[in-house]
């Protein structure tokens, strides 16, 4: 077919940020997948709980301390996380470097707390279905923290290389910050299930 030029694209930016970026949408789609996964895992928890005559099965409720500490740390991490995202939007490399280092540390600390959370469940995954589901919920969330921490660390390294000063990197930092918000947000219902529903 013959072509007739009716539109000029020459002035468009070389990379879109936020909703104009395909990676932003991709991240959103993956969050939808994983969010569905979390929702279903919680549904399994509620289903088994509804089925059981006593809940938790043959175990005391989990210790509140490590889980609550975890919740606090995650909540606090939201502040630098949102700041980091804003700095990335402003393309302020110096501040982004500071922010991403802080977020790397704030990503690793929860992993240390998590080590104490598993024993605080006071039930083993192979004792009964209750143990299985709380370990799975906690494990599922832990994999998400680890994934995001690895991503944050890689980005942190990148920000200190020649690849740092690039609109794409700032976009990646924003997407990563959005994903961390998601990791924190999914923790809240899981925290409620594991620590508080078991006390009802």
């Amino acid at each position: 077919m013959r072509e007739r030029i009716v539109l000029g694209l020459g002035r468009l930016p070389l990379h879109g940020m936020g909703a104009a970026s395909v990676t932003w949408w991709g991240t959103l789609a993956f969050m939808l997948i994983e969010g569905t996964g979390f929702a279903l895992a919680i549904a399994v928890y509620l289903y088994l709980m509804n089925l059981a005559t006593v809940w938790p099965i043959n175990a005391p409720p989990p210790d509140l301390l490590p889980g609550t500490l975890m919740t606090l740390i995650l909540e606090i991490s939201l502040v630098p996380n949102i700041l980091l995202s804003r700095w990335a939007e402003q393309q302020d490399l110096r501040k982004v470097r500071v922010g991403i280092v802080i977020m790397s540390i704030l990503g690793i600390i929860p992993l240390i707390v998590r080590i104490f959370e598993f024993p605080a469940l006071k039930v083993s995954w192979d004792s009964n279905a209750y143990g299985s589901v709380v370990w799975t919920l906690l494990g599922l969330h832990t994999t998400h923290i680890i994934t995001d921490v690895v991503d944050t660390l890689v980005l942190a390294v990148l920000m200190f290389t020649r690849h740092g000063l690039n609109l794409r990197r700032f976009g990646d930092v924003q997407d990563n910050a959005m994903y961390w918000n998601f990791v924190v947000a999914t923790w809240l219902p899981i925290y409620g299930c594991i620590y508080w529903l078991a006390r009802l």
């Binding site: 020459g10 789609a29 799975t136």
Partner: protein, 637 residues
């Protein structure tokens, strides 16, 4: 990696029009040879490869079906013992659902959607390459296990406790569960690519009401994949945990529940049917236009029907569990919702009939398959209404009636449109036409063979024949019909053989196809047959639902993209207004490394839980290599 073929920031409009294709071809090329095959991220090469692989799985899955028909042709036949037969029917189901039906629909979309929305590559092309490798690995895992007599033998829905640690001995059920992980991973990846491609890479001007119906169908399907597949991932992971590390999700003695598996499985499993059917419905709506020589009637109705089906799909999983002993009142709710899905299906059928009524039909093979689709799918839909009724279902559940029903839905409802689609889009895929004469012969053999094979199964089911039996006793009156079915299957197989012969022959010796052999109205036909690596020398600009019918001579396009890097246009979600000139990633070997690392981790984890920890390290390394900036022009911003 070669440098850019033209100087930095060269725009297409600055280059002589005749020289533009060669410049773009250099930027977008896939290296020839084996290395090129490993590194390519071209959606057309990957899509073709995906389609080809899926049809290979269809063929070998069909061989299993033939073996079952030989066994069942007479009572107490001893061609196979129960152990092998149970593997065969499980393999047939798992293969057809997970390795053929879902992947083939996504494969067609991987090839067509970027062309139909007028862009140069799918979103996340490296993820696309990764998804193919993972899919291939899952298929090879399943079939290798079968060849080693380790094939799963628990049915394609692997009900616990039969598939659980106590009764599912060996590694058979684990292989089934891990094959699920492979195929769902690839399906989810493709779903994400398609959603983002359709949301953000549509040609300028392709507003929501100018999206071809097939693309709409794939958008809805992709959302179904995204919402439904996590359920089976959770289910299969829990099953592996039960089997490998002793969790008790499905063990009633320790607070678990056997029906939990069924809920999780069917929460995925029923949408799965629509994941297969909706793309087929989209194909019909799109193909019917050139063959009725008028626009599909009721565009809005067709699109709304797709969306409604997608939503309702999540509200009917319990109809697979009507005889499991759930509360009857709840069952009745699911009867209502299952019946309700007949409404959007009906709307589509009526719209297609209206299109044919008002159009001037051209009786070519694709239209024949559409007609065959209406004839058989309506039967499948009506038997679907029957099994949606709880009391009706108590007599036919898990019998050959259900076997007949879902083959009518899946073959009549999805494979017939797919075969039509292959004839229809074959010139775009290969640059050659399929033989019309062989096409019509294969159509008649398939439609006659199919109905003669599967219709009597309704009667067998009502006469009391349960599904999944490896044989039956001579004192049951099923012998005659079973023999008839097995003989009819010969006709069906002959039809499929003829189809494969036609496809292979035409790919090599078929008549050379023009760009738009069917006078079709959608954008993929604006490109050459087959399209160049960059799809469109200049991105089309769309101003209606049928751009190629508005003006058959000239194509409105947009200029100003760079030629020295892979560049395409990102547009707004609803209005499709240009937002950015985005780079599209280059070829890369990293997706293959990532797929290999993932495969090792997943197969290893069948045998040891530590695989998840140690195996994830190479996966992480591969992913970092994948995303690490390479300093190519594509990284500029």
């Amino acid at each position: 990696m070669n440098g850019p073929p033209t100087a930095p920031d060269t725009r297409d409009a600055d280059i002589e029009r005749t020289r533009l294709p060669s410049v773009l071809a250099e930027t977008w090329k896939t290296p020839v040879g084996f290395w090129g095959a490993l590194v390519t991220v071209d959606h057309k090469i990957i899509g073709r490869r995906y389609i080809f692989t899926a049809f290979v799985f269809l063929a070998i899955g069909g061989v299993l079906a033939a073996l079952m028909r030989i066994q069942l042709a007479q009572p107490e036949a001893r061609l196979f013992g129960p152990d092998r037969y149970n593997q065969i029917f499980t393999m047939h189901g798992a293969n057809m659902m997970f390795l053929f039906a879902v992947p083939v629909m996504e494969a067609v979309a991987v090839y067509l959607v970027p062309l139909m929305v007028g862009t140069r590559n799918i979103a996340f092309p490296r993820l696309n390459a990764f998804s193919y490798w993972i899919y291939l690995a899952g298929g090879v895992l399943l079939w290798t296990a079968f060849a080693l007599d380790m094939g799963p033998d628990v049915g394609w829905f692997a009900y616990v406790p039969l598939s659980g640690p106590q009764y599912g001995a060996g590694k058979r059920a684990d292989i089934w569960a891990q094959m699920i992980t492979f195929t769902e991973l690839s399906a989810l990846a493709v779903a994400v690519e398609l959603v983002v491609t359709i949301f953000k890479q549509r040609a300028p001007g392709m507003t929501l009401d100018r999206i071809p119906v097939f693309v709409w169908a794939m958008l809805v399907t992709s959302f179904l994949v995204i919402m439904a597949m996590p359920a089976i991932m959770i289910a299969s992971t829990s099953l592996i945990l039960d089997r490998l590390v002793g969790t008790h999700f499905f063990n009633p003695a320790e607070g678990g529940d056997a029906l939990l598996w069924q809920h999780l499985f069917w929460f995925f499993g029923h949408p799965e049917v629509y994941i297969i059917f909706l793309p087929a419905a989209g194909m019909v709506s799109t193909m019917i236009e050139p063959f009725a020589r008028r626009p599909a009637f009721g565009y809005l109705g067709l699109v709304m029907a797709l969306i409604a089906t997608g939503i309702l799909a999540f509200g009917l999983w319990v109809h697979h569990m009507f005889v499991a002993g759930l509360p009857r009142l709840g069952d009745s709710f699911f009867t209502a919702s299952s019946m309700a899905i007949a409404v959007p299906a009906g709307i589509q059928i009526f719209c297609w009939l209206a299109t044919l009524w008002d159009g001037r039909p051209v009786f070519k093979t694709p239209l024949l398959f559409i007609i065959g689709f209406v004839v058989t799918f309506v039967i499948g839909g009506l038997t679907g209404v029957m099994v949606a009724s709880v009391p009706f279902d108590t007599q036919v559940h898990d019998t050959y009636f259900v076997v007949a029903h879902f083959h009518y839905v899946l073959i009549g409802g999805a494979v017939f449109p797919l075969l039509g689609a292959v004839h229809y889009w074959f010139p775009k895929l290969t640059g050659r036409m399929m033989s019309e004469r062989l096409g019509q012969w294969s159509f008649w053999l398939i439609i006659v063979g199919f109905n003669a094979t599967f219709f009597p199964m309704h009667i067998l089911g009502l006469e009391g024949m349960p599904r999944r039996i490896y044989t039956y006793q001579p004192d049951l009156p099923w012998h005659g019909l079973n023999l008839f079915i097995s003989l009819s299957a010969v006709i069906l197989i002959a039809g499929f053989l003829l189809f494969f012969i036609n496809a292979i022959r035409s790919a090599h010796f078929g008549e050379v196809a023009p760009d738009n052999p069917w006078d079709a109205p959608t954008l993929e036909w604006a490109s050459t047959s087959p399209p160049p690596s960059y799809n469109f020398a200049m991105i089309p600009v769309v101003s209606s639902l049928h751009p190629l019918w508005d003006d058959r001579e000239t194509l409105p396009v947009a200029a100003g993209l760079r030629t020295d890097r892979r560049e395409l246009v990102v547009t707004t979600l609803a209005g499709a207004e240009p937002q950015a000139r985005e780079a599209s990633p280059r070829n890369s070997i990293w997706p293959l490394w990532a797929a290999i690392a993932t495969t090792i981790m997943l197969i290893w984890s069948i045998f040891s839980p530590w695989a998840v920890i140690w195996g994830s390290i190479p996966v992480a390394v591969a992913l970092i290599g994948w995303f690490w900036p390479k300093g190519t022009p594509e990284d500029e911003s």
